[in-house]
Amino acid sequence: MESSADTPATTGTAETTITFSNLRKSFSDGDSTFTVFEDLDFDIAEGGFTSIMGPSGCGKSTLLNVIAGLIPADDGEITRNGERIEPGSFFYGYVFQEPRLLDWLTIGENIRFALRAQDVPPEDQSGRIYRYLELVGLEDKIDSYPQQLSGGMRQRVGIARALAIDPDILFMDEPFSSLDEFTAKELRKDLLDIWQETAKTIIFVTHNSSEAVFLSDSILILDGNGKLFDQVSVDVPRPRRIGDEALIETESAMMERFFAHLQNTPADDEQ
């Protein structure tokens, strides 16, 4: 395991790197300004699985939304293989913490909503809906309504909806954090299979360190003050097994450094 904020994430499959430099985001409320993060520099490998990890309220989700272009950054630059690209120009699919399905539409129609939003030609829609529901193992639920499914199934539909538009990047904002641990474990394994099959770039936000280590090639760790404190490469070969020694070692070393860092830099109370 290597670890340094300067080391770019590298994986076997990725060739292209997206570089984020000097990202800054603050919110002002009247006279007071709250800085979520500043001077963030990091790389994301295309085709790789990158996690953004940190304690609750550290700005992980805000960072994800800035990368997605849903929230404009105050400052910063994004380059892809050295070429500058506009924020918000990524073609992405978004998986939310809650499934955010439309209760009045069937599972199939929920996915069709995303396809229509992206102007996918009508004749291609039904085929895609079936294919991606099959990918998440829910093709027989195509005519069910969201309220008839379990929480885990609904989250699978959310994943199928995000993938069905065939995006370049999949953004996932703590997608398994409101599920029970058994369901979450199952979905993590399936997510890795889906990732291998679709070869998407995934950016995954979590506050769960073992989840981050199990899933990722590379983990960006934010501290409580919105500073990028560490970027960890997880070089454990795949397919990975839950409880693998190497994963546990990586996680405990990572957390040790994180807690040592916390003790050295007390939280900034001024914010």
Binding site: G93, L102, F113, A117, Q148
Partner: protein, 275 residues
């Protein structure tokens, strides 16, 4: 326990369940019937008719040689209720959507809505007669419109505010056009609110129409009731009013049934929602 005992018990439980379910309705009806007969027995028929006298009143009202045409008068009243309801719903739903989606519009329109809320129904009817005179449509439709529209607007506005803001956010993340968001999120979310507004509107509209007809028209059920009131014939008032009450009750139950069937996804199987 023997087989027969068991089956007797089972059927008794079946009957029991039926009685338990229907009992409140049966008792309510019985109380009305007994109360009705007691009152009727101690008063003359023009004040309170017995059931038998009421049947005679029905014959007098709708049999051959009836004083007023049932088709024309019920028809006129129903037409007014329909026109007024449509006006209330079109304007009320539109105003509610505008108020629910634009805070500025809400600030302006809210004053009007509050002001009309404070206005008693009868005053609108009187004002309408003074302004428009005796008319076929205007007094009834205007009175209903002024009273019911604010209720519809508020109900729709609150419906929009109940929508989970995470759903439009989701649509934004998928780059959905405003048209698509309205078609698939706002409108379906509002259907139950629109539906209950339709029920509320019809229920209120027919009662208000009746009052408006007493003051501001020369035809319709309200006029007939006014006529028999002047003539001091209560049994005829009841005979004319009952069919309309039954019809409105039926319409409301019918709409309620469609509502529960159409939106069964809401109640059918409702596990706790994700946080």
């Amino acid at each position: 326990m023997s087989e027969t005992e068991r089956s007797v018990n089972a059927s008794r439980f079946g009957l029991q369940a039926w009685v338990n379910g229907r009992l409140p309705i049966v008792i309510s009806v019985l109380v009305v019937v007994v109360g009705w007969n007691l009152t009727a027995a101690t008063t003359p028929s023009y004040i309170f008719p017995t059931a038998v006298e009421l049947v005679a009143a029905f014959q007098e009202a709708f049999g051959p040689g009836a004083e007023f045409s049932a088709v024309n008068n019920y028809g006129m009243t129903l037409a007014r209720v329909a026109v007024a309801s449509i006006c209330c719903l079109v304007v009320g739903v539109t105003a509610g959507i505008v108020m629910g989606t634009s805070e500025r519009a809400d600030d302006y329109l809210f004053v009007y809505v509050l002001a009309t809320f404070a206005f008693p129904s009868v005053i609108w009817a009187f004002l309408a007669v003074i302004w428009f005179g005796l008319t076929i449509w205007f007094v009834a439709v205007f009175t209903v419109f002024m009273i019911v529209t604010p209720y519809v607007a508020i109900s729709i506005k609150e419906g929009i505010e109940e929508l989970d803001p995470k759903l439009p956010e989701m649509a934004q993340a998928f780059d959905a056009s405003p048209l698509l968001v309205w078609q698939n999120i706002y409108i379906p979310h509002l259907y139950p609110h629109i539906f209950s507004s339709i029920r509320l509107t019809i229920t209120l509209a027919w009662k208000i129409t009746l009052i408006a007809e007493i003051f501001g028209t020369t035809t319709g059920l309200g006029q007939i009731i006014n006529f028999y009131f002047q003539a001091n014939q209560n049994h005829m008032i009841i005979a004319w009013a009952l069919p309309m009450m039954l019809l409105m009750f039926g319409v409301d139950r019918g709409l309620h049934r469609i509502e529960t069937e159409r939106y069964s996804w809401r109640t059918d199987h409702e596990p706790p929602k994700a946080a």
